[in-house]
């Protein structure tokens, strides 16, 4: 039984990371209506900034954390300004393709600047583990999930209770009418990119102490994050995190107790989740089905 719970705990920890990145994907989708394929690489890039600050510039963890969030926010807004805005009004597929270009660009840049060497990134949480009935739970796992849940609460509150949040939703759902009532649509979309980059930075900094930092760190995570975002409903922040946790635990248990899945078929299983959700319940677990008049 201890083995079962150990798998659940390890699944929750991975799930928290999928959820954190899924949250960033959901945020951009909610704010701008597109899927950002470069989300993982943006997170990786931010993590490198944090690593450089702590390793080469003598920052301690939390100042580096704050500076990274700020830089990421500005970077997100900057990316939106520079490459997304010019094509925003065209077909969505153009934006999607630009984000794929960004993925390759950021990945190549990271290799060029920091080389492919594996780096250790400090964790903000204590190193030890607590033992509950033979199940080892590390503080960093608990911290990851806690940060993830906090982010989702803050984000939901932001969208629901603040004027800016409401304006962002309006700008995404119906740009022309939002503009009529005085919402500065383009700034709202830029804000969405900035916030998503910030969330991505958090996801990256949570992931790196566990999986170690290299330029490809987030590529595998990204696919699971997509699955998590879709499972929870691509528009629902809470759904993204819950989807991440379900996916993390589900895949671990599947790998442990279903022989032919094993550890090798986890990725196909995640892809199957994406496909299944889109075919059976496109709105996901927490999403609302959108009906459009044509």
């Amino acid at each position: 039984m201890a083995a079962f719970f150990q798998q659940v705990v390890s699944g929750l920890a991975s799930g928290g990371i999928y959820g954190a990145l899924a949250l960033a994907i959901v945020l951009i989708h909610r704010a701008t209506g597109v899927i950002n394929f470069a989300q993982g690489e943006m997170a990786m890039f931010s993590t490198y900034i944090a690593w450089t600050l702590t390793t080469n510039h003598g920052f301690s963890y939390w100042p580096a954390f704050a500076v990274t969030l700020l830089v990421s926010f500005l970077g997100g807004v900057g990316i939106h300004r520079a490459v997304i805005r010019p094509v925003e009004r065209g077909p969505q597929i153009r934006v999607v393709i630009i984000t794929i270009g960004l993925l390759l660009l950021l990945n190549g840049l990271a290799f060029w600047i920091w080389s492919g060497e594996v780096r250790a990134v400090p964790s903000p949480f204590p190193a030890g583990t607590i033992d509950i009935g033979g199940v080892a739970i590390s503080w960093s796992d608990i911290g990851t999930i806690a940060v993830c849940l906090t982010s989702v609460l803050v984000l939901s509150a932001f969208f629901r209770f603040t004027k800016v949040g409401l304006a962002m939703r309006a700008a995404a759902v119906n740009p022309s009418e939002a503009r009529l009532v005085g919402v500065r649509v383009s700034s709202m979309l830029g804000l969405g990119w900035g916030l998503a980059a910030m969330l991505g930075a958090i996801a990256g900094m949570l992931t790196a102490p566990n999986v170690f930092l290299d330029p490809n760190m987030m590529q595998a995570v990204l696919i699971y994050a997509f699955a998590a975002a879709l499972l929870g409903g691509i528009d629902s922040p809470i759904g993204a995190v819950v989807g991440g946790l379900i996916l993390g635990v589900g895949l671990n248990l599947l790998g442990t107790y279903v022989d032919f899945v094993g550890s090798d078929l986890k990725l196909p299983a995640a892809l199957l989740v994406i496909l299944g959700v889109l075919l059976l319940r496109p709105a996901g677990l927490f999403g609302k089905t959108v009906v459009k008049k044509v």
Binding site: A2, A13, S14, I100, I234, G262, I274
Partner: protein
């Protein structure tokens, strides 16, 4: 976002996740050998300059530095200066094929040398052999290079085979830890499977058993779940047959779970001391101490070679011809050892160098005294034995560096 676009996105995710393979077709040409003049030899190769295995790019850079040194101080080989042109395949076999064809057909290289990766070299092997282009010193320890020599006579490997390496670990455990229960984490491809197979061969008829083995995919984000399963098996020895990132994770997760296997064996050694230092979290992860691995090269961080003339030469070459590279990275030594051997073979193939004369030279070949390899290790082929390097030393991770111990181990893969 509408459903159609969503489906397009899914298709893109699938494409990103899987990658595609390309077919190859080769044609045979006659005529004189390209890539060679009275004062030059052009060698080509593929290397992962970007992508998931870009740490291994140092293998090509080390070799390049050695050729530059040779050109500058000795005027090349038999009066011919060597140019080594390596191109990026992003560690993707589907890219190795067109890149290699380009090197052969457009750049007109004399031979392919030191291309990295198992699947990558397997993908271009039929083409190169059909074109009769030597595929020199493949940077991979798969057994197929030596085993399938009769079918692909233009291809030759270099380093000890993974099977031999696994066998050495098996023998070492059966001698030093009778009754040990071994858990194995391995990469789910030829590389991990050859190591696991070798380990099992080494353990035959001994009291040591492999009681659990867990594969992982290179595309997975981490190996936490596998380590939890291996711990649950009750094993007291952990063998990690993985690439550096996953090996580091394995050490970290095992430590986190409070698992303290007695002997830990890994092969992340190839890429080095830096990975081991990260794995040990600057000495905090005690699990890493006493880790066993193999080596056939001189490790630039091993204090034993501090005043060794060859390693002094190595540092001088690096300083002059690869000034921005990390001198402590042993993969540069690997590249130099391969380049040294290639130079030796080219010299022995004679003044009238052709692809055919090079192949014949390597057919029965002995090169002793490679300064970058551990003393006593020879590069040798003869008759049916086409495994150039078959000897190695065991080494232990202690006091933040690898320390070799014991005598030479040798094993012929099959």
């Amino acid at each position: 976002m509408n459903r159609k676009l969503m489906m397009t996105c899914v298709a893109l995710v699938v494409a990103l996740a899987l990658g595609v393979t390309a077919a190859i077709a080769g044609t045979v040409r006659g005529g004189s050998d390209p890539g060679i003049t009275d004062n030059s030899i052009l060698l080509g190769g593929t290397a992962p300059l970007t992508g998931p295995a870009s740490q291994y790019a140092s293998v090509a850079r080390g070799a390049e530095a050695y050729f530059k040194y040779l050109n500058a101080t000795k005027g090349g080989i038999n009066g011919r200066k060597i140019t080594y042109k390596y191109a990026d395949d992003a560690y993707n076999p589907a890219q190795s094929v067109p890149v290699t064809r380009q090197l052969v057909e457009q750049d007109k290289v004399f031979a392919i040398f030191n291309s990295l990766g198992t699947a990558h070299n397997v993908a271009v092997r039929p083409y190169l052999n059909a074109m009769k282009v030597p595929q020199l010193f493949v940077a991979s320890g798969a057994t197929t290079w030596g085993r399938d020599y009769a079918q692909y006579p233009y291809t030759i490997g270099f380093q000890p085979s993974y099977q031999a390496e696994g066998w050495v670990y098996g023998k070492y455990l059966s001698r030093t830890a009778p009754g040990a229960k071994v858990a194995v984490l391995f990469q789910n491809d030829d590389y991990g499977k050859d190591l696991l197979g070798g380990l099992k061969r080494g353990l035959q008829r001994s009291k040591v058993k492999v009681i659990a083995a867990q594969p992982y995919e290179v595309t997975s984000p981490d190996v936490a779940s596998q380590i939890a399963k291996l711990k649950a098996s009750g094993a007291d020895t952990l063998a990690i047959f993985a690439t550096p990132t996953f090996a580091i994770q394995a050490f970290q997760f095992a430590n986190k779970l409070g698992w303290k296997p007695k002997h830990v064996i890994n092969n992340a050694v190839a890429s080095a001391s830096t990975s081991m230092q990260i794995a040990s979290s600057a000495g905090q992860n005690k699990l890493v101490n006493g880790t066993i691995s193999i080596q056939f090269l001189k490790d630039p961080t091993d204090p034993k070679w501090k005043n060794d003339p060859a390693m002094k030469l190595y540092r001088t070459i690096m300083k002059k011809f690869a000034p921005s590279a990390n001198v402590a990275d042993p993969l540069h030594v690997y590249g130099m050892a391969a380049a040294w051997t290639a130079s030796d073979a080219l010299k022995k193939a004679g003044k009238d160098l052709t692809r055919e004369s090079l192949r014949k030279t390597l057919d029965t070949f002995t090169a002793t005294g490679n300064p970058f390899m551990l003393p006593g290790i020879a590069v040798k082929t003869a008759g049916k034995d086409h495994y150039p390097v078959e000897q190695m030393l065991l080494q232990k991770w202690q006091n933040n560096s690898w320390n070799s111990f014991g005598g030479l181990w040798g094993y012929r893969a099959s």
